[in-house]
Symmetry: C3
Subunit: 342 residues, 3 copies
């Protein structure tokens, strides 16, 4: 299916700069685009590509001023990335099969509530007392343990495992291999150094509009709940330990690890591979650079980096000092020499 | 079901301090507890909560001396966390369904040994020559490869994958998504830089009383075995490479990575995200702080931290020095200035 | 089955040094070998074991000169590890069952192309429009989404999940729990700090001869493709974000994380737990030490280490300086004192 620059501009509320009849049928990265494709320019790092791109249409910012000639037709919008998002959503909806009904064999416990509007894929397992909302999609080979509740319009991709009694909100997306509600890591050593399991009888509660990445693990609490608040987005391979609470609209890049009982505020941003100690508090709006390690609590609005983490400015200065350490040693040697000569 | 402080104190061998008829029917975290719930105080960080908790009963240490009035009934015990553990175990046993028998469809090879006392969930796969002990629980969608042996009372949660010929001991717990016995990462480059696979014909052997976290991976050895000794507890998302050996009663927090052929002693404790080089030896009782990186062997009883790791005291001093580096640069500048003026 | 030193030497083109009739029936690590087993010596760290090994045969380098007497029969070859690899391959082929045909129940969409030579295990799911090449092995409980194409002789171990439309080459090996083609982590925040999903309509393309470790995740691109080029070997628990491209014959140890849109060259080697920022370029042949963090692009042939990463020599010097920081502080204090006394 083809769309013209004019049609697209109208849909996203943009302004055509170039040929309004330029037509596209697909999307492409700016550096790989071929004729007939639409791309976008949002990251200034990629600006140089716009002068050589083969794309037929490029979404750009309202105030973009080309420094050379551009052969593509431009569509000017307030926020190219958001506009792209709207177009991708349109395309994605058109492409997505409308899944509904049950594929056999699947296992659905007799007392489970599975509305007609749901999809349950082959080899999926729905335990006793499970309650699914409307339009829930349970892909093949997923496991929904006894007593789990899942809200409307949530998608559970193939091979997700949700242990008993956990609660998942509406409009959530759980990617393949995510494990929700495995036992928290609780063991008490005896006098001989042998560890005895502390049973974990709590649950995981995931609120609405949460996305959980592939192979991410969120452990059930010892008692009470491990809480992932509404709007949280977790990337792949993240570890959330028992009793942790994460505030609304916080986002974390992949491979972050959060130790037990830590409370994380809302609207935080964590880079990849960050590690957070247990039993601490991270204030709202905290931003943490990749690979940082947090041994203790930080106040709301902190911007920190490093292991152990420190304010970003301090971290930048430390890196600069480290670069000049060799010189510092030389200067001290020099001073010592001079002082001896005196 | 309700229990009074007196009943509970009797069960765990504690002493009631307050109303012996105070009754509870559930557990809760101290900061979230509501009337009718039991909680505990073990970590001094949480002491301030005891003066405001709504819990009806709190387990505390024998020698706990409140500094303000406490409304809850206290039960004094030698070790509140252990006593809690005993109560949680009681509750957990009561809550847990007694799983037994086979859910269809499951795949059980003709020559597999699966005692009557076992549970095999739907869509589970039991390969040729598999031998399960008594009371083994194989949850849905788990894969037990050809020739695998599993000891009595072991639980394999949904979606665990155990490759051929691996051996799992008694009373082990393997959480969802754990992969036991995938090929070790062995490749030899030829003159053109093309890598050729080294077949991995060894196994993984897991001894008794081991717990393996969700999505943790333990690779089979090139030859011989990768060994996880009795009582080891591994958290989620841990990587154990081929030929590694881990001594008994060692515990590791999540996202630790251990490279090939390394030998780790018994009774070690590793913090989260620790990385261990290949072909080294970690002595018994070693404690390693979170995010540390070990490039070389360490002796028994080491307490280390940092990347590269160093003794904890040295690491603390390094952090302090780093904090004062800016000042040191200034002092050297000052000395240089003074010396020039002289 | 037994083989003599003479037979083995002939097969791998080696020279017997000792008893040509020495016979073996199994492989073993040099430090654990028992009579009747074959082992090898490639890593000099293990040389001392050769004087005490119980192995009947040891593969050694042509130029190996024992410093004490060795009781085992030696087979001298140009490259002991390569020769071992050939023998392991032989053994592995002999041991491996020849899987073919379908195990019921499995789900194969009506229009899927599944040649007779393929194996499809129980509870595997093959979606609409899937095309499998010859001799493809789909182990139990794997998920092959709609429109996926897989080339000849590729092995997909139990529980792998491949999302719709991704492409996998020939002779690839995908280990259990690997997730190929989950949504890239793309969200745009609105004025209220609420994140909205950017649909990810691209794919993952994996070329020929690639091995993907257990529980490794490779996300589909926003548009276009995330690319894993021929011969790449990825260890377990690695994260490859959307739009990333990895050049041919690059190898990465476990738990590496690569952020979105980064381009990695060919023939690179990454140590474990390395983190790579998004939107950067890593030149061909780059070697990166374990736990390093790369915030920016590096040229071809770089050898780097640390977080933030620096040239390996510089990193070694920094570690040395850090070790001596305490002494430097003392020396500066000393200078200050002397200068005051002057």
């Amino acid at each position: 299916m083809q769309f013209t620059a004019q049609q697209i501009a109208q849909y996203i509320g943009g302004r055509v700069d170039g040929n309004p009849s330029a037509a596209v049928s697909t999307f492409a990265k700016i550096e790989e685009a071929t004729p007939g494709s639409l791309t976008f320019l949002a990251n200034p790092k990629y600006t140089h590509y716009i002068y050589e791109t083969q794309a037929s249409i490029v979404l750009v910012a309202d105030n973009f001023e080309p420094e050379q000639s551009v052969s593509a037709t431009l569509i000017r919008v307030a926020d190219p990335y958001s506009s792209l998002a709207r177009l991708l959503e349109l395309a994605s909806t058109a492409m997505r099969p409308s899944l509904q009904g049950k594929e056999e064999p699947c296992h659905i416990a007799e007392d489970a509530v599975v509305p007609e509007s749901c999809y349950v894929g082959a080899f999926a397992y729905i335990g006793r007392g499970v309650k699914l909302g409307e339009n829930v999609k349970i892909y093949p080979q997923s496991y929904i343990g006894d007593g789990v509740e899942i809200g409307d319009d949530t998608t559970v991709y193939p091979g997700v495992k949700i242990y008993h009694n956990c609660r998942i909100g509406c409009r959530c997306v759980l990617h393949s291999g995510a494990v929700i509600g495995a036992d928290g890591f609780g063991f008490a050593p005896d006098a001989d150094g042998v560890y005895h399991k502390i049973e974990q009888i709590g649950i995981v509660e995931i609120e609405d509009d949460v996305e959980i990445g592939a192979n991410t693990t969120i452990d059930r609490s010892t008692m009470g709940r491990t809480l992932i608040s509404r709007g949280v987005k977790l990337d792949n391979l993240i570890q959330v330990a028992h009793n942790v609470e994460i505030g609304h609209d916080t986002v974390m890049a992949s491979q972050v690890g959060i130790a037990g009982s830590t409370k994380i505020g809302s609207n935080c941003m964590f880079g990849g591979q960050v590690g957070i100690s247990g039993h601490i508090t991270i204030g709202d709006g905290t931003q943490i650079g990749a690979q940082s390690g947090l041994p203790k609590s930080v106040a709301a609005g902190s911007r920190i980096m490093g292991s152990p983490a420190m304010p970003m400015g301090e971290y930048a200065r430390l890196c600069a000092y480290q670069k000049n350490l060799g010189e510092l040693f030389a200067r001290v040697r020099d001073l010592e020499k001079k002082l001896t000569e005196n």
